[in-house]
């Protein structure tokens, strides 16, 4: 029986907390801006790109981390480029990632014929994450990447929010919105690569959407929302990992996601009730 205290003295759990918290911070920051810009769907697309990218790396003999960073960052910038050149960005993004996922199924079946079952493990780990079995090198990679994205988001935060909320005024004030958009796209790609290794491709969108949604319900200021979103997602990572650590039948990524969704649901209901009180 795992006890509360023994969890905190076990290395795997501390590693998971470290990597998970960094992912929480990154997703909280990036998620708020994505929700404000209405670009959550491109993160959804990236989570599918990650699947194909990781399997491609497996087939070519690269490490999963390299495959994820390259595929996610390149595709994130590519999607930004695509959505600039068309009026119906979402259907073009959808068409593109549907095909990239199709390529992923080909890689899955190609690698399955290579035997040894490692590709199946790779695909499950990428889809659902592996926070409790994360390797030391992956933790180092997550911490480095996480700090990088956090610093970049702190520096770019103000112009980024400005250009998301009022683009014409931002352009008039000399903000280089296009350069900023590509910079942000590469940060989203990096965030996806980091998050996929711990929470998994399929649950990445939840960690972007739920804390940001809750934070934006709580405060009108986008900067306060970014801070609140970080606080909520890190809380979800810590308590989700605790729940999963104490009850082994619950995978950590599922506990983290469900917790985040509960917070968003509770905040949405509470603010709605408050809105009715004030007669809105």
């Amino acid at each position: 029986m795992t006890t509360f205290l023994s969890l905190f003295s076990s290395e795997f759990f501390l590693m998971a907390l470290l990597a998970g918290s960094l992912v929480g911070i990154v997703c909280g920051l990036v998620g708020t801006v994505l929700v404000l810009r209405g670009e959550l769907f491109s993160a959804d697309a990236l989570s599918h790109v990650a699947f194909t990218g990781a399997l491609a790396a497996f087939l070519l003999g690269f490490s999963t981390g390299v495959g994820l960073v390259v595929s996610c960052v390149v595709c994130s910038i590519g999607l930004e480029l695509l959505s600039k050149r068309t009026t119906s960005a979402d259907s073009v993004i959808g068409t593109t990632f549907a095909w990239i996922l199709g390529v992923g199924t080909l890689m899955l079946s190609l690698s399955a014929t290579q035997g040894n079952g490692a590709s199946g493990a790779t695909s499950t780990a990428v889809l659902f994450g592996s926070l409790f079995t994360i390797s030391t090198s992956t933790v180092a990679f997550t911490v480095t990447g996480g700090v990088l994205v956090t610093v970049a988001m702190v520096i770019l935060g103000r112009p980024l929010i400005f250009s998301s909320i009022d683009r014409p005024v931002a352009i008039a004030k000399g903000v280089r919105v296009e350069v900023l958009a590509y910079g942000f796209a590469s940060l989203v790609g990096l965030a996806a690569a980091l998050a996929v290794q711990s929470v998994g491709a399929l649950l990445f969108v939840g960690l972007l959407a739920a804390p940001a949604g809750a934070a934006l319900k709580l405060t009108r200021s986008p900067f306060a929302a970014m801070a609140a979103s970080v606080a909520i997602s890190v809380t979800c990572v810590v308590f989700g990992s605790l729940i999963a650590g104490l009850s082994p039948s619950v995978p950590p990524s599922a506990a983290i996601t469900l917790l985040a969704a509960c917070i968003y649901g509770a905040v949405a209901l509470a603010t709605r009730a408050k809105g009715h009180q004030h007669g809105h």
Partner: protein, 276 residues
């Protein structure tokens, strides 16, 4: 090819699914609701997984999960706003909750892991006559509802304010459309797998949009494109079994999309867009 019964079933079921999904997808693309459509497609997988883990028929999980997700995520944007960030946030959260539930179901029942791949990526093989009949009935129901509400729905899509002023029940229309989309996604996912549904929803309409500019014509073109994608895709995978169906179908779609994009860049096509 026609002499194999399983292939006959696959072609018939695939054709029905192609027609129905492309029509609903055509509306989805016009409404810019790909994220919602993709989320409905994604939740069908954990729905089936949870149902299997509880010993219930997977069909119940497919329909239950997509209809539930449609109920939560399908609300229309707040009045007077063209963009509602919370709609996106809710959609993403619904998707994640469903997948987390699916993940718990997977780890609770080890045997289910084997069926994960087929739930996600589908298998056109092993489609029974009953399956074909059910898919046909659901498809006919979905198409009739869509045909009945097509005109007001499209008006509400392009200009909600005018539609409302004209006395159209915009909220009801939007809800009815999301409901039908959920039905179609659930029935399609059963044979194509959760991941391929979205390709059949989004690709034909996106391609059609680039080939023709007239609204109703593009719906017909989307149906044609969808049938071509499914037939050529099935044929490719039949003659080259190393290619999974998901790869063949999406690749045919991608080739058509790229061709259509080049076609749309012709000077003549550009001029016709401007004048129409």
């Amino acid at each position: 090819m026609w002499s194999y019964p399983y292939l006959r079933h696959a072609l018939i079921a695939g054709s029905i699914v192609a027609i129905v999904a492309s029509v609903l997808g055509w509306v989805m693309v016009l409404r810019r609701e790909s994220f919602l459509g993709h989320t409905l497609a994604i939740v069908s997988f954990p729905g089936a997984g949870v149902a299997l883990a509880l010993g219930l028929p997977p069909q119940l999980g497919y329909y239950g999960a997509t209809l539930l997700a449609a109920l939560v995520a399908g609300r229309r944007p707040s009045k007077g706003k063209s963009f509602d960030p919370f709609r996106d946030a809710t959609t993403g959260t619904v998707q994640a909750v469903a997948l987390a539930a699916g993940l718990i179901a997977i780890s609770a029942s080890q045997s289910f892991i084997d069926s994960t791949t087929s739930l996600l990526f589908g298998s056109f093989l092993g489609i029974t006559t009953t399956d074909v009949i059910v898919i046909g009935l659901v498809g006919a129901l979905a198409l009739s509802i869509t045909a009945l509400m097509a005109r007001p729905l499209i008006l509400a899509t392009f200009d909600a304010t005018t539609a409302e002023a004209a006395g159209l029940p915009v909220t009801l229309l939007s809800a009815a459309y999301v409901f039908v989309l959920a039905l179609v996604v659930a029935s399609t996912a059963q044979i194509t797998g959760a991941l391929l549904v979205f390709a059949l929803l989004v690709m034909p309409a996106t391609i059609a949009e680039r080939l023709v500019t007239r609204l109703w014509v593009s719906a017909v073109v989307a149906i044609g494109v969808a049938l071509a994608i499914v037939w050529i895709g099935i044929a490719c995978s039949f003659f080259a079994p190393v290619l999974p169906l998901g790869f063949s179908i999406t690749s045919v779609g991608m080739v058509l999309f790229l061709t259509a994009s080049v076609f749309a860049m012709r000077p003549a096509a550009k001029a016709s867009v401007v004048t129409s």
